[in-house]
Symmetry: none
């Protein structure tokens, strides 16, 4: 059985059952458990499922728990940045989150912030990212507002005129922007122009704008521009950023936090 066919079968079993164990999959497909583990790992890398010890669950399965099964031993760069961003949020605010891996970590950091465990609501979160909405939806301390729109495959972000329409009806205290590139001269940018348009609108509706980006994104340029550097108030990045880079952003009037 070829790998393509095996992957297809695995995903189908997974969709059917919601959860699949390594041994069970190995028995049904008549391959070794090692192969299944490799398959699961590779599929998890492509966000097609979530790996658990002993098996896998569908990514985004209904009623999947927004839990992190793997408690990271040491906080990665992204998680440190995310925690710093989360600490910039004041209880009671309305905060906008764009899509992306870094903002997803911000959402998780917010979810476990101890001083946000109560209140009604402790925080209003507006997002166009399906995965973030899904993770936060079960937490009663948050009011989750989702922009409508068309889901972009791969990124879980909602884009298009429907999203614009919803965003036009709300105002935010702070917007947290996940970007693929951020440069003092060229501003913040995303991969996709539809995505950039939604992100831009999110910024415009916000009092403060925070960009969360690890240092590899800084000084880069990308296709779809979101906004100029001048529109950004705070940049949170990791400590591997060079002092010259920090200087250029500070000249543009941005407060830089390197954690």
């Amino acid at each position: 059985m070829s790998r393509d066919a095996r992957w297809k079968a695995l995903l189908e079993l997974l969709v059917e059952q919601g959860r699949l164990e390594v041994e069970e999959a190995a028995a049904r497909l008549e391959v070794s458990a090692a192969t299944i583990r490799r398959d699961f790992d590779q599929l998890a890398e492509q966000q097609m499922l979530v790996r658990t010890r002993g098996g896998a669950v569908v990514h985004g399965v209904s009623y999947e728990l927004p839990l992190r099964y793997k408690t990271a031993r040491r906080a990665s760069e992204k998680q440190r940045v995310a925690k710093a961003v989360a600490d910039l949020i004041t209880p009671g605010e309305a905060v906008g989150l764009t899509g992306g891996t870094t903002t997803t970590e911000v959402a998780r950091a917010l979810a476990v912030r101890p001083d946000l465990t109560s209140g009604s609501p402790a925080l209003t979160v507006v997002t166009n990212a399906l995965n973030i909405a899904n993770e936060l939806a079960v937490r009663p301390q948050f009011k989750i507002v989702v922009t409508g729109g068309v889901a972009r495959p791969q990124s879980y972000e909602l884009v298009g005129p429907l999203a614009d329409g919803v965003l036009g009806q709300i105002t935010l205290d702070v917007a947290v922007l996940g970007v693929v590139a951020f440069d003092a001269e060229h501003g913040a940018a995303a991969h996709d122009e539809a995505e950039a348009a939604v992100n831009r609108l999110l910024c415009e509706r916000a009092e403060r704008v925070i960009v969360a980006a690890d240092s590899s994104k800084l000084g880069q340029r990308a296709f779809a521009r979101i906004c100029s550097a001048g529109s950004v108030d705070v940049l949170v990045t990791d400590a591997a950023v060079g002092p010259g880079t920090i200087g250029r952003f500070e000249e543009a009037g941005i407060e830089v936090m390197a954690v």
Copy 2:
């Protein structure tokens, strides 16, 4: 029993009872108390519950009782019903899906329908259910449109005026309704009036309306009415439905499929 399954079960018991003791949980899940303590501690770390001496209590005061969010209740009936509903959809159509366990199964059945694995797009799916959107988002054969709105606490459905606004801008070929009660006289109903409002709008925008409900829902009434029985074209249910019940729905002009 794997850890994710155990965590899920624990949270379900907790949401049901509001409070759960270590010993009780250990007995019901047939694991040692030490394991339950570890689980409770880890879940508390992620703000999913509050630890107390001897047990745990739900986080905050969300005593929302989501009976419909229990896992695998009547799972096989639901899957049979879901498959039948999925087979009523024609490739290329725009189909609306409301939230609920049955409609989630419909989404999964659509995802594995062999004649829908290609096409651009093979189907347009409009939904206010975050979990359905999340699950279908990775499948390139579907165009996923999400209504905006506020996520209902402890649930995955988007409701409110923002959702209404988005729905006003689209038209559907067919709407699939997941309901908590369906009666020939009193019509279809949901738990929550905001949810019912969104579902009603979804029906109004659709050419055909299909209700997917296992037989335990039929002849029941619930708080929030979605629409009259006359607005429904097809009812798909399981074979355990009584002949008298079928008759009453057919008199109301509904085509009944018992699978």
